[in-house]
Amino acid sequence: MKTKLTTLALGAVMAAGPAMADLVFPSLSYRTGPYAAGGIPFADGYADYFTLLNERDGGIGGVMTSVPECETGYNTEKGVECYEATKGEGALVYQPLSTGITYQLIPKATADDIPIHSMGYGRTSAKNGDVFSHVFNYPANYWDGASGAVNYLLDENGGDLNGKKIALVYHNSAYGKEPIRTLEELSEKHGFELVALPVDHPGQEQKSQWLQIRRDKPDYVLMWGWGVMNQVAVQEAANIRFPMENFIGIWWSGAEHDVTPAGDAANGYKALTFHNVGTDFPVFDDIQKYVVDTGKAAGAGDQVGTVLYNRGLYAAMLAAEAAKKAQEIHGTAEITPAQMRDGMEALEITEAKMAELGLPNFGPTFSVNCQNHGGDALVGVTQWDAASKTWSMISDFKPTDGDVIGPLIDADSSAYAGENNISPNC
């Protein structure tokens, strides 16, 4: 009887968990709650790319992948619970998908020897791999975003922003405050005036901020928004007739659902990006053939090609390429999280590789090393066309101001290292 029970229990455990050989890429998704409109397409893109690899290539290096999903609701506590609940399944890398969750997971994941990829969010100074051994934020971070916006405006103004006024409308949270220090440094360097206008969470009421913009008449408005704050800001900008082509959002303020509620009035609004938009890439033919047409798409399969779907797909592609690199370095297909970390640290994304993956010109080229976990910091700009309801790239992925950002990263990461007694990793 005892043996039977033990056999039964073992069988149940084996049936409940993924096959030991699977390469596990947990997805901390948020398909419910106030930010679900952003969470659903990202989670779909992330899952669909791994489904494509399984269906078309038989996984990565011959090992199938699995993407266990855990619903965080964009809530930090739930995110940490999801991490604890899934890390035992052999998780190779976590995409926390929230700056709050990322901050909580940095010490935990480092202690557990599991890498984190916070792509375009999280702790900016995690770019310094010497301090943050297990955190990667390639290909770009918030400070790159701030610098990318200013560089774009410099290009627009013949390299001179002297005497211009730039307003920053930001979510009054740690996330929204991220670019302020960088923009202050850049305003000193380039001679523009910076006006910072915080918006209280959730951002449904922004009349005061936009009345001030109407009074002060800044030349440009930058936005670090999220959720309902984005839609209201675009609408309020339209209401006061602020020229949309002078309004630039960070990449978390640049999806379809951020602009469609304002209708035609949103035409010309711009957003920063670190990946391309649309479906005009060969990989989408494969997604259609192997994933959508076979009924294996995540969710309802209706998000393919949206900005945040593409971001999820891009994150999955980078994770898969890092896994391949790890397999190559360690000579084994069944890699561990520690080996995955090595793969991420040796990742090199070239245009030839992107083309080979069916993603030509989809993202910037970059390489990662022990000191630099943030890549080459190239940032592009997209613009919304309300008539065709599409985003399009209007600027290539261009370099950001390392002279300003570098010292800020060094200062912040050194402070973190001092507070947590971290010795250099490299």
Binding site: A36, E205, S208, V228
Partner: protein, 328 residues
């Protein structure tokens, strides 16, 4: 100095308009509290549910399509027709009446004579239930809502004020419409509760359930009616806020803006909700304009709740609320 005064006038006008929008949400709370002594935590979610239903009907969306597709392997999303806004509003109202009946039939009637805290907890459960059902029914993507309400700067006010002050005031056309709608709503609600048989019955129930029952008033009917009227107010609030920001989950958070209004105006007064809304709207906007820049901005939520706290300390029943005196 004169320039600052002109700016302040513009801020006050916009504060009044914002206050009306807050009051629209607060009205729903007041109605239910007045009639049943329940603080309806689900009022914000009702606004979300109403707005999602309205957009869903207008766009000819198939309710529960994700669920149907997942179970039956189908690929249906829309019926293929568009419904005119006015018909969609009427149909949504019918859905809100049905919701009111369900709330009464399956939740509230089982909790008659329970402690207020029990009823409050029930509405918390109802809020989460409705959130889930709304998502399942209509999907969680952000939807545009266009029932034909005007938006953007009012040019007449802009030009007129420019001619007078040399600076054109910004007033959003949508806010002007919201003000007119709120005024109509308050007049209608006050007239209903004062001059109709059902309105008087509602007030009797509010005063004493047992006494109202003893004179033959149907508690079931009155509560269904009150939840239906609150559903209608939620629909109006959902339309106004949804037009501004798109219909999305965050609409449920507008309840946060109503709480200080209720503390200020009192939980039992319809005019109190309006006056409270106006005070909060003007107060927070003026504070942000005058003090905000000195302390880094984003003072509006903070100011609204601090003002409400001050009122709680000196006048716990709010400006227009009834003073509660309980003798041992």
């Amino acid at each position: 100095m004169l320039e600052q005064l002109v700016f302040a006038m513009e801020v006050i006008l916009n504060g009044l308009m914002a206050g009306v929008l807050y009051a629209l949400v607060a009205l729903g709370f007041v109605l239910i509290f007045k009639a049943s002594g329940i603080f309806n935590y689900a009022q914000g979610v009702m606004a979300l549910f109403a707005a999602m239903t309205l957009v869903g009907i207008m766009n000819g969306q198939v309710p529960f399509s994700h669920l149907i597709n997942a179970i039956f392997g189908a690929h249906i999303t829309h019926f293929g027709w568009q419904v005119p806004a006015i018909i969609a509003i009427l149909l949504t109202m019918a859905v809100m009446v049905l919701l009111a009946w369900c709330v009464q039939q399956f939740v509230m009637r089982h909790l008659v004579n329970q402690e207020p805290i029990i009823l409050f907890m029930a509405t918390i459960g109802l809020a989460y239930f409705l959130e889930g059902v709304a998502d399942l029914m209509w999907g969680s993507e952000i939807k545009s809502l266009d029932v034909g309400l005007p938006q953007g700067i009012n040019l007449w006010i802009d030009e007129t004020t420019f001619n007078i002050f040399g600076y054109g005031f910004f007033i959003d056309n949508l806010d002007i419409v919201a003000t007119a709608v709120a005024a109509l709503l308050v007049v209608a609600l006050v007239a209903f509760s004062q001059y109709t048989k059902e309105g008087r019955a509602m007030r009797a129930v509010a005063d004493d359930h047992q006494a109202a029952l003893s004179v033959g008033i149907s508690l079931n009917f009155i509560w269904v009616m009150v939840w239906s009227v609150a559903g209608f107010v939620a629909l109006v609030a959902g339309i106004m806020w949804g037009t501004k920001s798109g219909v999305q989950f965050s609409l449920s958070l507008i309840a946060l803006k109503a709480l200080p209004v209720l503390m200020l105006g009192g939980f039992t007064s319809i005019p109190g909700a309006i006056v409270g809304g106006l005070i909060i709207g003007v107060g927070e906007k003026l504070f942000e304009f005058a003090i905000g820049p000195l302390v880094g901005g984003a003072t509006e939520n903070w100011f609204a709740y601090v003002l409400a706290l001050v009122f709680l300390v000196f006048r716990p029943q709010g400006l227009f609320g009834e003073k509660i005196i309980e003798r041992v």
